[in-house]
Amino acid sequence: MSPTTAYLIYFVFALGGAGVYFLLPQGDRPRAAVGGVLGLGALVVWLCILTFGGLADAGVSGYFYLFATIAVVAAVRVVTHTKPVYSALYFIMVVVAVAALLVLLGAEFLAVALIIIYAGAILVTYLFVIMLASQGGSPAYDRQAREPFMAVLAGFALMAAVAGRAGEVPISVSEPSGASLAVGVTQMDSSGSNTLAIGEIVMTKYVVALEIAGALLLIAMVGAIALSKKKVPMEGFRPPREPLGEIGKRVKPF
């Protein structure tokens, strides 16, 4: 990768960072349109660099760019949307796009597990809590980000630092013959089933980790039950409004 290309990549991430900065909710300054234009510009420039700069690899299918674009745009909306419900829905979009990318990488089992666990279980819990703990309208803490400039600077510096070195990733790695490859099950097998191979490696090489994961889930369940049964002192407790009668008069509840 030539230095010019690296600087172009840094420029793309600076543009994207500016876009996300303007997209973040910042009170009464509606500049989201500017951020959207900047962010889309960064995406277009990035795709142009990859296509015309000779960086794109023939081994990467067009589906990668499609799903990667969906994932990045949806992730930006997750962190910038002012309504938590929409953030959660965009997060489902990220999960589905990442699952598609995992299929492209040959991890079918993990892709399906991702959709079932994330989009099916975790997101439902999130939506449930959002419904339970949402206040009417959009409260001030959703409309005003905290230190948006420093956060964007840190995040996009990290991105640019990683992407600037991306040219040094080897095309393929030849493993030293021995150790892990000697055990047949750890090898990625194109002919066999991915689920079968994952099951074998999890039940043989990583069986201790599997038991620890089960214990961790059990401990988390006990902790969540203990948390939800805890009586809270209700400092900011507001008594519920009395129910209204048929014609709007207040009636005593029973």
Partner: protein, 100 residues
Amino acid sequence: MSPIAEYLVLGSILFALGLVGFMSRRNLIVMFLSTEVMLLGVVVNAVAFARLHHHLEGQAFGLFLLVIAAVEAGLALGMIVLLYRRGGTLDAEAWSLMRG
């Protein structure tokens, strides 16, 4: 560029976007959604490296990452509900008493 490198860049982008969200948003629920985006970036990275090395270990690692995500979501949402019942707000700034 190596085909794996593009997946690694995508993983780092997802991770850093989640980091931006975690640091800058004030709603507790959105903060934890951002950590889930970060975990997805890590999953992409792990599976891409599994592809590079022709191993299954990255995929097994991704499976355990899902377990961690489930545990984190369960405990964090329990605590968020508890804090909401106690304070009536989801603002992270409302609980910054220990920051000094």
